[in-house]
Structure formats: structure tokens, C-alpha cells
Amino acid sequence: MRKIRLLSRRGFLRGRATGSNQGHQTMFFRIVSDSFARKPRRKALTAAALALGMAVATATLEVALDVGDRLAHEFRSLGANLLVTPASDTLPLEIGGIDYRPVDSGAYLPSGELGKLKTIFWRNNIVGFAPFLDVPVAIAPGGPTEQLIGTWYSHAVAVPDGSKFVTGVSATDPWWHVDGRWFSDGAEEALAGSSLAQRLNLHVGSSVKVNAGAHAHALTITGIVSTGGREDNAILAPLEIAQDLAGHPGQYRRLLVSALTKPADAFSERDPRTMTPADYDRWYCSPYISSISLQMQQQLPGVEVRAIRQVAEGEGRILTRVGGLMWLVTIAALFAAALAVGATSATTVLERRAEIGLMKALGASYRAVSAFFIAEQLLLALAGGVLGYALGVVLARALGIEIFGVAPALRWILFPIVLLLAGMVALAGSLVPLGRASRVDPAPVLRGE
């Protein structure tokens, strides 16, 4: 019945409404609609095939658009990619993990200001940060000097907008391995580096007395840390304790920041001072490491921000490669989807030869026949596309969680795109057999061969 309405709306045979032609028209519609009402399962199969193909296309596109963000997150497991130091600091003197600089030389930065980092334009890209303050201490009175590194593990930072941001070394050095547990914020606890612990025979639960100058603290070792770096030979303690021992309350000397960045390209490497206002806006509003550095510098006075290039550049290079790879994979999947859907479409139209022959025998022109079929295929594509998008979103969720452990951020722009794709593929798939079928003699087809 739907077919009759559709046909009459299109008015194939309009304009020839004499008495006998009226009867002719009605007969035509009746025969045609009868033949189309047959095999509704065919239609359902086409729509289902279209839906599945579009579901795969949707899922692939959603995941592909998300891959860049996901991998950027994964790269944060490389640790901090930005280093903040006082603009006017003295040269660090480090051998074997010990900084031999006198404690009172050089510049310091206020740790109370760190909350401002979460107010910059790209605040949501600041995954975490950790301040460091090193103090040479003595374990036993008069004993050899060891390095004490003060930092945060999981510290609540007050952000000017009233919220709290919990961060610390967990974000900037996630590969550090602790046997035991980390020290609690503000407690008289510490971690012992693996080499140091071996040397001084420290275990979880041991108690050490550290003093520097006039200050002393008794710290309980809650864990043994191994990093592969200078920390293996040091004691890690909460920043506040280091600040107290050094006689520099509320200060730090070095800040590591882990930020989600966009790989650097020719545009981002330009000097911002030479950019036009439009370009400058574009650069500022892209999460390049250079623009994030500038924004941090604007918030924290007296600092110098630079990229830890080993991490930043390596990440950029690999991300670009992998991004390219992922796009190719996506295109491959889309191509396969289009072919599969096209094949299904072609198959189902191919067997409408009998109906096409019938229509032609009754006097319908090729244009009229094609127009009807195309309209029908587009309707099916619409139904298939909507269903396919819904299924695709579910599939994308499942894939995202399976591969990355987190569902992808959905992009609604894909909905019209998927519908368009469905329409195009269904159209292309049906045009070929339509073309072929229209050139076939109706007679043998109607005889039932």
C-alpha cells in the first residue's frame, strides 16, 4: 500500500488522465504494488545489511576520531613533558643523583601558586604536576650526606575557582615502582630508594631520623621505590617535610608537568611574536606544547617553562606515525563496509528484474522505473543508516572499552555523515544492476524463466 502512495505522489503517469487511462493507471499501480508487496523479507534483509555495514562504518569512524586523544593519554605514561624552573636559578650540580649546590644558593618558587596552573586556557590538558625540592640530609648525626627529595604523591591543590585538584608524582612519573605504599600527604613518612635501602639496610616499617642543620624529622619508611634514576639513591618525603628541613617553607625548586599536547608542526614552531592576530589566536587555542608553555608562564611569575624534549618530541613523532596508520586502517574498514553494503544492495536489486520487466511491459519508461527504485533504495538506506548509527555507537563503545579501557567521546556530526554514506552506497549499489536490468527484454522474464 505504501508503494501505491509513493507512486501516485511521484505522479509517473500524471497528465494522461482520460477515462481509459485512469483504469490503466490503477491497474498498473495494483500490479506493481502487488509484486512489491511480495517478499517483504527481501527488503528487511537489505535494510539489515545496510544497518550492519553502517554500524561498522560508524564504529570505525568514532574510534578513529578518538584514537588521537586516546594515544595522547597513553603517552602520558611516559611521564612529564614540561619542566618549570625559576627563571634566575643557579646551575644544578648533580653527580650520582646528588645535587651539590648549596641549599641557600639560587632561586625558589612558591608552591602556593601552583593552583593557578588549573586556570589556564588549556587547564583540562594539564593531567598533573609535581614540585620538587632537594635537601642534603644526614641520616645519623654526623653521618654521610644523603639526598632527600621532597615532592607530592597525591596532594590536593587549592585551585582559585574553589575546587581542589589532586595531583603529584603519580601523574608525572607513573612508571616508578613502589614495594609497599606511598607516603601519605603531610605525614611523617617517606620512601627509600632501592639502592639507598640496600646500603643502609632499610625496610618497610624502618624508622629514620633525618636532620639538616637545625631541623630534624623522624620518618617511617612506608615503601621502597625503584625508578631507574637518581631517586634510587635518595629518600623521597612529602614536600612539606623537605621544605621544613631546608628552611624554605612553601617553596619548591623544580616542577614537572604532564600535559596532553598536540604534536608540534611547522605552524607551532613559529615565534608567536611574529604571528598575525588571527594566527596567534589559532596557535593559542591549539594545545601545542609551545602555547601551553606560554600560558603557564603567564600564570606563574618568575618561571621558565621548557619542553622535556626527549618525551615531547618522541611522543609527537610516534603519534603522527600512528595517527597516519590509524587513518589508513579506518579507510580500509570503510572501504570494506562500502563494498559489502554495495554487494548486498546489488544482489537484492538484481532479482527485481521480473518486476522491472513487468513495469516496462506495462509502458513505464526507464526513467520512471529507476526513479522508483532509487527512491525505495534511499528510503531503505535512511532506515538502515539510522539503525546502523545507533548500533555503531554501541559497537564503538564496546570497541573503545576493549582496546583502550575507556569509551570513546562520541561525535554527533557523524550521524548525518553516516546517513549520507548509506544513501550514496545504496544508490551506487543499485545503479549498476538497474542499468543492466533496464536493457533486458521483458518477455523472457515475464514468462517466468
Partner: protein
Amino acid sequence: MATRSMFLRILWKLLGASRGRLAVALVALTSGAAVSSALLNVNLDAERKLTQEFRTLGANVVVAPPSTGSDAALTGAGVMDSIAGLQSPRIVAAAPYLYVAANSGTQPVILAGTWFDQVAKMNSWWKVDGNWITSQDSHLQCIVGRDAARQLNLLPGSSIELRSGEHTVSLMVAGIVTTGGAEDSQIFTDLDIAQNLAGLSGRVTLVQLSVSGTPPEIEDVTKRLAGALPGLDVRPVRQIAAAEGIILGRIRGLIFWTIMLILALSMLGVLASMAALAMDRSRDVGLMKAMGGSVQRIMRLFLVEAGALGALGGTIGFLVGVVLARWMGGRVFGVAISPRPVVFPVTIILTVAVALVGALPLRLLGRVRPAEILRGE
């Protein structure tokens, strides 16, 4: 014998009669096979290429003496010889470092002695303003980290005098290096010069190595190194290894699931064709059953047909896939991907499996009841 040739005769004519549908099914199978095999080739090669990329992130293995005191401990002489003696092709670079506390005038600074050609291989991110130092140079030269240069007022071409204990050395600044890391506050020179300045001939503080390969291969080299260097710590640099493992795992997952999806779609296309084919053939099957043909014989016919289609589609698809993979590799890595022979049998097996499963509608024909079909719709 006559029956065997009759079987083939029927099969041949059957294929000819269903040309159109089978062509569509073949297209579905071939495209699925092509894309799957291309992705498999790309995946196998991509991992290798990506691990190479990760090697440019710096050293992934460090050799150092187990710390015995807060003074910088030193390795024994000949450690570099032992490493070279291993002759492992996986060791892409091995750079020794000797750190010396020196003074320039009243300003203390760390001098690091190393082999620049090895450092160049490992640390791709070192950006040098000025000139690099090659081992051919006869002058006494150094490369200065940018913070150190700022503190000591040095530019490329300047001269700096360093003193350690009773030894002094005068070096010309060849270039300034910016890394964003600890190197920015150090001065680098040739290992011999640093060893002479410190009076520690033949000793080094540690050795950084860049070892190529998959994580298990790297671990194997680490073990062999530990065996060749008793008394020293051979440790992986966990920072890079962890990230590398995660990223490669994600990519593997992505490609795996993409291949699964594509095969599913391919099966869809095949199913559609086969469903149409089954409808076409239902009358003939009903007829054959009415004539007393056993179901097994008929099913065998269809099975052979589907299997042959799968094998054909898999072969053509594989060849197309090789071309596709080369192109993809060129786009992403700038290097053509060499196809792996193992992908061929895998592709064939997968495609034949898809064809056989997709031929399900034909197998359902076995249940056709001749009377219903022959009654004529």
C-alpha cells in the same frame, strides 16, 4: 568414473549458471581478504617500525655499578670492550658517560665525557646550536648545555677552561645543546678528555644503551649483557619500556578488531549473495530430491563450490593486499612494507572459513521439502 565426471560437469554448469551472484560473493570475499591481509602485513611490520621509533626516545638499557656509597661509583676498566665483545646486532648504540665535578673559574659545573657518535645515534632530540663534535676532530672541543652556557656566558666559538683537582683543560665550545633535561646544565666532551681531567683513565660512571627489538628480544639482550658484565647492574629503563608496551598493545588491539569487523562485513556480503543463490536454486534442489538425489551429494556440491570460491577470493585478495600494504607502508613509514609469507595461508584459511560460514543459506536448502517447492508458487 562416469559419476565423478558427472559431478564435475554439474558443478561446472552450476557455477556458470550462477555467475552473477557468485561474482558478487567473490567481490565480497576478495575485498575482505585484501584488506585483512594488508592489515596483517602492516601490523607485523608496523610493530617493528614503531619499536625503531621508540628507540629514538633514548636509551632503554643502562649499565651501572651497584651503588656502594654516596660517592660516584665507577665501573671497572674495559666495560665498553665487553659490550662490544657481545657482538649483538641488536645493540644499536652504546654510550659511556663519565661525570666529573669541575670548576670554571669559581663556578662549579658538571663535565660529562662521552662518545658523541654513539650519543648521536641514541638521542635524536638533542638540538645543537652550532656544530656537533665528530671523532675526527683534533681540537679539544665541547658541547655545552644551554643553562650552563647562560651561566658561564658561553657561545659557539668561546673558550672555557676547566679545572678538576690538579688537572686543567681548555676547550672550545663547538655548540650549545637544548634538551629540556638534566643535560642542559652540563658540559659534554670526549670521554678521553674527561678521563684525563679527572685522572680516572679507563673508568666510566655508567653506560647507556639503545637496544632494538620487541620487549622479549630486549630482555634477552639484557640477560646476555648481565652475564658478560658480572658485578654490574644491567637495568631496563622502565619509563620507555612501559609506554612502548602499552602503545604497541593498543595498536595491535585496534588492528585486530578492525580485521574482525572487516571479516564480519565480508561474511555479510557473502551471506547476502548466498541467500539469493539459495532462493535461485531452491527449485533445482527440490527437483533433485524428488528424483531421488541424496542430500549429502547435493550438499557436497555446494560445499565444494563455496570452498573453491573462498580459496579463489583469498588468493586474489592476498595479492591485492600485498599491493595495498606496500602503499600503506609507504604513506605511514615512508618505507615499503615487505609482505610476510605467513600472511598468505592465514588469509586463505580465513577467507575459506568466511565463505563456508556464509554459505549457510545453501546448507539450509538441505531441509527443503520437494513437494512444497515443486508445487510451484
